[in-house]
């Protein structure tokens, strides 16, 4: 599974970095920077929760 951000939809709420700090950090303007590569199996459930929590649904989980 892989995470991606819709760059147009993202409004820098920053919840994703709070919920999944292992894979997501924020740049100095509050926009997410994702770790590269697939989400490790142990973090898939957390990644799903982070995607569901995005207020504008800009964070997505896809089969890699």
């Amino acid at each position: 599974m892989k995470l991606s951000v819709d760059p147009i939809g993202c409004r820098a709420h920053g919840l994703c970095a709070d919920l999944l700090p292992e894979r997501i950090r924020l740049d100095e303007w509050g926009y997410p920077v994702l770790a590269s590569g697939p989400v490790p199996p142990g973090l898939v459930a957390d990644a799903r929760r982070a995607a569901a929590a995005c207020p504008v649904l800009a964070l997505r989980m896809r089969k890699s």
Partner: protein, 380 residues
């Protein structure tokens, strides 16, 4: 027939002149369904690649867009201030572009063709006059696109033709799958289409052997403008084609405002549309700061890295020019711009900024040691 003049004649060719100079597209060889395949095969045999900056193989793109009731879009917008090759083509050789547009439409089975130019463009008259002379199988509509830098990016064109909003849409889905009004759409630069016409008119082998690229050369050259150069020419040859240097050239910017600086003039060019020659007397950091300010102002203001990152690195460069030490901030910020926008606009700015810091490293030190290194540069 001199191949260096085939693409760009000295005077505008009307339909009769175009046919005398280039001949008539042999439609009979391509009219059936197998003919569509032969057309795409010819583009592959000629190793034709997109001339809009991407360099993607045209045959692959044509094949991907093959569908019923597809649309072909010719991009003649040319938002980059350092490039004028598309305008030159549409002004001097409009029928070569339109022949290519019809060939591409035929290859993919398109029922609609749109030729996009910027609103108020001086080439509108040449285009309208050329269209009035022709009876094309696929009707060509001219669309006037808002005069913004990112409005002519591929997904922005598709977005505009569908909804009237000329902002980039992002990377998914590709226009070949779902483009204008949801229909499969091929977007090609007008230069690429003119080259496709030449592939058919000259034959792939002759085309490959004599291939020339149109390059807009500006800066410290005697005869700035659009020049045809053989594919794979060295930078020195390109500068010579534009009349040679007016004063020593310290570096060249390759590929327009979102391009790359290099001080090595022995390098070769292929598929590059614009070259700017920076004179030895001018400050490359200052020039880059001005271009970055332009790129920041031309963002579509949709994506965070572009909205905030571009003004930030433009300000960092301005600070650098005035002797402030913004190098650490730039080292942190530039990598954050790449691959995080809906289009390649921030990537281009990052490429420009990173290559400026590399190429003008000595000047960075000079500025940090106390003010300016050379005279401020003017920007096109």
């Amino acid at each position: 027939m001199s191949t260096l003049t085939t693409l760009l004649p000295p005077h505008r060719l009307d339909l009769a002149g175009h046919r005398r100079h280039h001949g008539v597209v042999p439609w009979v060889a391509y009219h059936d369904d197998d003919g569509r395949d032969r057309l795409i095969d010819a583009a592959r045999a000629a190793d034709l690649r997109g001339r809009g900056g991407g360099g993607f193989p045209t045959a692959v793109k044509l094949r991907a867009a093959r569908a019923r009731r597809s649309i072909v879009v010719a991009n003649g917008c040319e938002g980059d201030p350092l490039s004028r090759k598309d305008a030159a083509l549409l002004a001097l050789s409009p029928h070569l572009v339109l022949d290519g547009l019809q060939l591409a439409a035929h290859a993919i089975g398109a029922t609609e063709a749109v030729l996009c130019v910027h609103a108020g463009s001086p080439v509108l008259g040449s285009v309208a006059a050329a269209l009035a002379e022709r009876e094309d199988r696929v009707p060509v509509r001219v669309a006037e696109i808002p005069r913004r830098y990112v409005a002519s990016e591929e997904s922005a064109l598709v977005h505009y033709l569908t909804s009237g909003d000329a902002r980039p849409l992002g990377k998914q889905p590709r226009p070949a799958e779902r483009g204008v009004r949801g229909r499969p759409t091929l977007v090609d630069n007008v230069d690429t289409l003119a080259q496709l016409a030449l592939v058919v008119l000259l034959g792939p082998n002759h085309y490959r052997a004599a291939r020339t690229d149109l390059v807009t050369v500006t800066g410290a050259v005697r005869a700035p403008g659009v020049v045809p150069v053989r594919a794979g020419a060295s930078l020195s040859e390109v500068l010579a084609a534009a009349g040679g240097e007016t004063e020593p050239v310290q570096a060249v910017l390759i590929g327009g405002y979102g391009g790359t600086w290099t001080a090595d003039l022995r390098g070769t060019l292929s598929g590059i549309a614009a070259v700017y020659a920076l004179p030895a007397s001018a400050c490359g950091l200052d020039y880059t700061a001005k271009v970055l300010a332009f790129l920041a102002a031309e963002s579509a203001r949709q994506c965070g890295p572009c909205m905030f990152g571009l003004p930030a690195i433009a300000a960092d460069f301005a600070e650098l020019v005035h002797g402030g030490n913004a190098t650490d901030r730039l080292a942190r910020r530039i990598p954050l711009l790449t691959g995080r926008g809906a289009c390649a606009h921030p990537d281009g700015a990052a490429r420009l900024a990173a290559s400026a810091l590399r190429t003008f490293e000595a000047d960075v030190c000079a500025h940090l040691a106390g003010g300016r290194c050379r005279v401020p540069a003017g920007v096109a």
